[in-house]
Amino acid sequence: MYSIVQLFVRHGGLITLVIAQVISFYLMTSQNTPQREIARLSWGWYSNWLLEWRNRWLDYLSLRDENIRLKMENAQLRTQLANLRASETPMRDTVRRQEAPDSLGKKLIRPEYVVISARVVGNTFSGRHNWLILNRGAKDGIRPNSGVISRSGVVGIVRDVSDHFSLAMSVLHPQTKISAMVKGYAFYGSLYWDEKDPRYLTLSDIPYHLPIRRGDTVQVSNYSLIFPEGHTAGIVDTAYRPQGSSFLHIRVRPTQSPASVREVYVVTNRYAEELDNLTRATQEKR
């Protein structure tokens, strides 16, 4: 009460003026036609402006949700794309129960991939064994040996998963080996990091007679069990034939810089484990 009195003593004139103006403006807009009409139009204009401003602000605030929604939608589309590639292979599956029609009316012979969006929450790229931590885990459907890709390139391979997080080997890890090929040539090799320059990967086992040039695209081959076929991995920087070798030594600049990766997709091949078991069983028999 005392503070109200103090306020009035200090700013009494201004307070009285504001009260008098409020009463006057009320009288003006309620009793005088011209002022009432102008006030009505002005209120309409200002309320529209305020409403528009509010909507813009709400749109801005909902961008994060929209981003998550778009990433989920993108993951779904990538899943469809990867599976569509598999369905386009000229083969006939006689097991009808594995067939399922997609939105294009085609028969999906083998829906191979599941794509889940994730974010990199931890990343090393300056050591010899580099790792990534992703904010998705087993409860999100991530399994070990899933591929990690970004929109522009390959990122790594999931090794371990907890309920909510995954640990992935970066492409800058000597154990990360990706089946890759130079676009346009039907020969595949192994893409890996030679632990020297973190700016470059090495593509080996490509026959020397291929006219590989600087700027050619390196992509995931159709033999990869981890990454979707055709996904871009890098650009050829240099290619030469070491003395006495039948294969080229190709230095590849990754299209996704391992240091700056943030938003990724985890690609799980549903049949990877089955194929791996099959290969092992065959090797054991030998």
């Binding site: 009035f8 009494g12 004139g13 009285t16 003026l17 008098a20 103006q21 006057s24 009288l27 005088n32």
Partner: protein, 174 residues
């Protein structure tokens, strides 16, 4: 404020209200609003200098309400009167003599401060009053340059000589 301030101000209130409401409001109609002779602000200007600002604002609001009841523009002069009551304090403060107002000069009259001072104070005061009046009359800034400003200027030019004549005639001292 000395004791004999009430009745002179009451007299000014009634006489200026009568002149404004019964005579001068007709001039505004005849000139399509382009010349509005507003003399009632003189009552606000001549209220005791040391009167508390809230009371000056209320007095301005009150005479405005009465003028509005004559002219049928409820709220218009009330708003202008209250605004002028507040602005008066700022103007008087700006034109205060050295050492401030001591109470020896009860009202802002040329009888105490001279004609030059009064012309400056009343000139600014009436200009502000008329600008506010036309602003709320049009109620939109759209007409500021082609209506509000010219009409306020014309009205100021016609009001100020009348104010000077009245002050010369009555030469109020309290």
């Amino acid at each position: 404020m000395k004791g004999n301030w009430f009745f002179p101000n009451l007299w000014r209130f009634l006489s200026l209200l009568a002149v404004q409401g019964l005579i001068l409001s007709g001039i505004s109609y005849n000139t399509d609003g382009y010349i509005s002779l507003l003399l009632y602000p003189l009552f606000i200007l001549l209220l005791p200098i040391l009167m508390p600002i809230p009371i000056v604002v209320l007095a301005g609001f009150l005479i405005g309400v009465f003028v509005d009841s004559f002219t049928g523009t409820l709220g218009l002069h009330a708003s202008t009167g209250a605004f002028s009551g507040y602005v008066r304090a700022l103007i008087l403060d700006r034109f205060a003599p050295q050492g401030g107002y001591t109470g020896k000069e009860p009202i802002a009259s040329p009888a105490y401060f001279g004609w030059r001072w009064f012309l400056s104070v009343s000139g600014v005061f009436f200009a502000v009053h008329l600008l506010w009046y036309f602003s709320v009359a049009y109620f939109t800034p759209v007409y500021f340059f082609n209506k509000i400003l010219p009409q306020a200027a014309l009205s100021w030019l016609s009001t100020m000589p009348v104010v000077m004549v009245l002050m010369r005639l009555f030469y109020p001292k309290n």
